[in-house]
Amino acid sequence: MIALTGNILLIFALLSSIVTLFFAKVPVIDGHKKYKFASLFGTFQFLFILFSYILLTYGFVISDFSLVTVWQNSEIQKPLIYKITGVWGNHEGSMLLWLLILSICLFFIIKYDKKIPKSVQLNTIAIQTSIIFAFLLFILFTSNPFALQLPIPIDGVGLNTLLQDPGLIIHPPLLYIGYVGYSVLFSYSVAIMLENKLTDNWARWIEKWAYISWIALTLGICIGSWWAYYELGWGGWWFWDPVENASLLPWITGTALIHSLLNYKSTGQHRDWTLLLSILTFSFSLIGTFLVRSGILTSVHSFASDPQRGLWILIILSFFIFFSLFIFLRNLQKDSEKKDFVFLRRGTFILINNYLLMVSVVVIFFGMMYPLLLEAITGDRITVGPKYFNIVIAPLVILIAILMPIGPNLTWKDNWTQLAVKRLMISFVITIFLIIAMQLVIYENADAFHLLLISLAIWIFIVSIVDLLPRNLSKFRIEFSELRRKNLPIIGSRITHMAFGIMIFGIIYASAYSENKDLKMNLGDKIQIDRFELQYDGFGTHIGENYDDLQINFSLIKDDKKIANMTPAKRFFRKSGDITTEASIHKYYFDHMYITVGEVQEQFIYASVSYKPFVRFIWLGGFLMAFGVLFKTLFRSKIFGTSNA
């Protein structure tokens, strides 16, 4: 029953999208009617897809194994939360989630973006609908989550055990909201380009979407990195894995886009570049999906891969990219007025920002695709090591870090103001002072490279704070009320910049000063690591819902006092017989003590123990970055009112 209903719902959604396209694009119908019906059927698409998604979730919850997808990825014994979230723990379900978010976006465009001229709106709906249409075909023909099988098996195969983790609950939806949110920017941008007479307001219309997608993508990437950190048991937070890179690329272009939009809004310059960035960002979302789903790149995210699916996505991808680039080239505008070229103003720094970010995108993309390229040409099979990425990204990060805090201090029009110079000088002095203080306190000798990066992280942090100080202390009160009214969004930006500094600090500090020991321990053995001692106390068992844990007990000792119990575990899943390693992490201020266990025998164990100072700054920074932009988004709409939103 579920299979049949599900298929019917998807087909209805497909029909609705065809009808929407018909009303949006057929010229004979009069304007008002066009808009009314296109909106109506757009809403229908959303509803049909929503119902089919709910239906699939229901199938998972009641364990309807007549559905192949449910059978392959679920089992009766699985905890309820993983039945609900397990929907996106597999290829078919996750594509349906992708589609659902596409249609939610369409629904929001129809429902909430009402101030935008109807002609632009209609084109946007049409483009968004055609993306939905393409993915509906993809799902129906290559990845149908409602595929039926008979006879009905008694129990399912079960969820991949590594996915049975709280990370699964939030990481994929956030990442997808980020990826797919950019589809709206894509649709708007193409629609704007199709419109010949332009109002300058379009940057305001699409800004909101640029922020929301960016927030979701940032959170998604952070949570993914955190998940990999504790679950994969390697204690690394970024591996330059192709799939990670695939999510980083739209993040970088999305960041460039936010800045470029600011520039356009304030100066009216670089319209085409801004539009191109929105197209590029969604293109990278699609490329990411293609790379993951086709399985052409070896990665830790290996859903069952099927070349046919890859081909489909490649077709969808090429179509939308070429279509949008064609429209882009046809509508290229010369920057209408060449203004005076003033180097030291904010716009120039945004250009440099965009330039550096795009260079990062190119080098990452190149490193990611090089193995494919080489195999196609010479047949050699290679891996591009993480070192490559570190080497090429480091100088770019250094440049970005030097310049990033300076730009916001400048005005949009003129050269340096005295205030900016004064503030930068103050910040510079504070930074130098802090670095010297840090060198005195910390006994490790930093090498020049790490020291430089750490200093730059502090530099970003300090300038961002100094920049928030009131401009004139005697007028503090007036400034303060002005600040509240007008400058709240600016606070958001500064928080985000500051958070980037925090993140860089964490990344560099944790990579440079972590201590790691892989060793064999007998019962009662004590080891020394950083300022701590760790003692192995034996093992016990713990019964979980569908697994049994073999817990290894450690005592964490500091200054001869026990401060914590740590229990890393080997987790045995009853049904599949899979074993996973569960790391134990003890938080100590901003640091982590991190233990995983390998071989466990009667007499001894193999343990991997790491102490990672300031590692929590990485995620703290990431979340704060998202928070800053959220802050900006919320107050922006409050101040400008919904009319410009």
Partner: protein, 135 residues
Amino acid sequence: MTNKVKRLYFYTTATLLSALAIALVLIALDENIIYFYSPSEINQSEDGTLLRVGGLVKDGSLKIGSDLGTKFIIEDNTAEVSVIYNGILPDLFREGQGIVAEGKFIDNLFIANEIVAKHDENYMPKEVYESLKNK
């Protein structure tokens, strides 16, 4: 300076920086690509180059030594490579399972510094699958 000259400076700098970036990329790439071989393709006397070997862990070959040292054999249908690894083996490391080891040859022994066994139980590393298929 006129606007034109200023602009010229700006774009020249950008171009030079791009060239620098490209040079850096090529150097970094040259030093950090790691070739993959199956046991039968490999030249075991090639000492000291970082590379990856992928195949199946031979049944009965795994020996756990004292102090984390493990020794095992990676094979395809025609050739074998003896591997020594000091460290904790991944959960999915089992005899008969496809794995990829990264390391260097020293005196005809492959000293691995990393063992890659992927997430999924059914998942065979792609390179291993393809090199076995061709046999």
